[in-house]
């Protein structure tokens, strides 16, 4: 019953599918990000409290969202690989980690740039930023653990396990950081982002979110191809595929 699934997840199939999907993801990402940026930066009205500074949200929020999404993808792919022994899962996890880490960094820096005009300081131990920082540390842990093993197969499995442990930990960190912040700051810090938004501001944001997801899909596919090649170097299909 599972055979179709294993065939779907077979390395050569994944390698070809990823190649076929990449341009589509890129095309959609280019259109939506392009629209989101132009509409968000030029046409959306300034926020009545934050003025034009709120426009940072158009890159901050999608990056923050993507940082969590990539981590979840990584942990999920690792879990699939560990439990059902589907090796492509390790390749997906390995491909997702550096992308996720880079967007975590963007979320942190843009959050801090946004914080400067809002709080008067680049870093105010805002709970969201703090848990984002801890997420970055988790990414570093997973990436360095994978690289520390000489045998890539063991590195893959160890990193997958750490990813799963981390994904359980993320909500705990998030919750405890909020609890800690409310204890110390009494809610005086203005939180980044707001629940209610005018639709003219919302559309470009949604477009950016969607565009970043598609971009993630595209880059993941590209990296995935490299990871699959590295893992399957000795197999006949790779030899056929790379024949000069």
């Amino acid at each position: 019953m599972w055979t179709w699934f294993y065939r779907l997840a077979s390395p050569p199939h994944v390698y070809r599918t990823a190649a076929a999907l990449t341009p589509w993801f890129f095309a959609v990402a280019a259109v939506t990000i392009g629209y989101g940026l132009i509409d968000g930066l030029a046409f959306a009205p300034p926020d009545y409290q934050q003025g034009d500074a709120f426009r940072i949200i158009y890159v901050h929020a999608p990056s923050a969202w993507l940082s969590l999404f990539a981590y979840t993808t990584m942990a999920f792919a690792g879990a699939v690989a560990l439990i059902w022994r589907i090796k492509v899962g390790y390749a997906v996890a390995a491909a997702a980690a550096p992308i996720g880490a880079s967007f975590t960094l963007v979320a942190l820096v843009t959050g801090s740039l946004w914080g400067r005009p809002m709080w008067g300081t680049y870093w105010a131990w805002d709970p969201r930023l703090t848990s984002e920082l801890i997420l970055l540390f988790l990414y570093f842990g997973v990436i360095s653990l994978r690289q520390a093993f000489e045998d890539p197969a063991r590195g893959d499995r160890a990193a997958a396990l750490l990813g799963i442990v981390g994904v359980i930990n993320v909500p705990i960190v998030h919750f405890s950081v909020y609890w800690w912040n409310s204890l110390h700051q009494g809610g005086t810090v203005m939180r980044l982002g707001k629940p209610e938004m005018a639709t003219s501001m919302l559309w470009p944001l949604l477009a950016m979110l969607f565009g970043f997801m598609c971009f993630f899909g595209a880059v993941l596919c590209m990296r995935l191809r490299g990871e699959v090649l590295n893992r399957e170097r000795q197999s006949t299909w790779v030899r056929e595929a790379v024949k000069p």
């Binding site: 000489e150 045998d151 890539p152 197969a153 170097r233 000795q234």
Partner: protein, 219 residues
């Protein structure tokens, strides 16, 4: 020296058998084991031989279940060892190429805390077993002060005391003098006579008074 065979704690039968089929192991880009396989029955010894780096130890680690092969499976009495982990481990005594002793514990304590996890065993019996491998005098010394040969004999005593029908030994003759080598051979003979099985990794020939099956790796 007394050489009575130990009773083996297992369904005493000639039905015991261990087999491995088409074992493939990769280490990174290195294809260490390429389809190794064997079958051993009760009373038989398999000598795993081959030059360095041909995967002898790797095969032994696969057989004892520490290393999961990429392809192929190891079966104990017809069932894959992954499915009967606890039962298989209870029936097996493994001696790695190092003596695997805690240097801060005495020889006796070392045995107590490793054999004791497999079966209920008293210190008296363990001292006896240490005597049979010729290291009774070392029982209360910390393993730190023992010579390499003495440590090997303590490790031999541990294998004996486990009373397991299956012995998996990695280079058991290392550091042994000629007397120790002879003792080890007699122990193996007695074990096989009692219906036991043994897998021995060694890079030189075994001097046993019986036909030995050989698995040559790296050919």
């Amino acid at each position: 020296m007394q050489e009575a065979t130990d009773p083996i704690d297992a369904p005493r039968a000639s039905s015991l058998d261990l087999s491995a089929d088409k074992i493939h192991v990769w280490r990174g880009d290195r294809h260490v084991l390429r389809g190794a396989g064997f079958a051993v029955k009760a009373g038989e010894l398999l000598h795993v031989a081959g030059p360095n780096g041909t995967g002898k130890t790797t095969l032994l680690r696969v057989v004892c279940g520490l290393l999961r092969p990429e392809q192929g499976a190891v079966s104990w009495c017809g069932r894959p060892i992954d499915a009967i982990r606890a039962e298989y481990q209870a029936a097996m005594a493994y001696a790695s190429h190092e003596a695997a002793l805690k240097s801060d514990l005495s020889a006796l304590e070392n045995l107590r805390y490793s054999v004791g996890l497999k079966r209920r065993v008293g210190d008296h019996e363990l001292r006896d077993t240490l005597g049979r491998t010729g290291v009774a005098a070392c029982a209360d010394l910390p393993a730190r002060v023992l010579s390499a040969g003495q440590r090997r004999r303590v490790a031999m005593a541990r294998v004996l005391a486990m009373r397991a029908p299956l012995w998996l030994l990695d280079e058991p003759f290392t550091n042994l003098d000629s007397k120790g080598t002879a003792l080890m051979c007699r122990m193996l003979e007695a074990h096989l006579d009692g219906g036991g099985l043994a897998l021995v990794v060694a890079h030189h020939a075994l001097a046993l008074a019986r036909p030995i099956r050989r698995l040559e790796l790296g050919e």
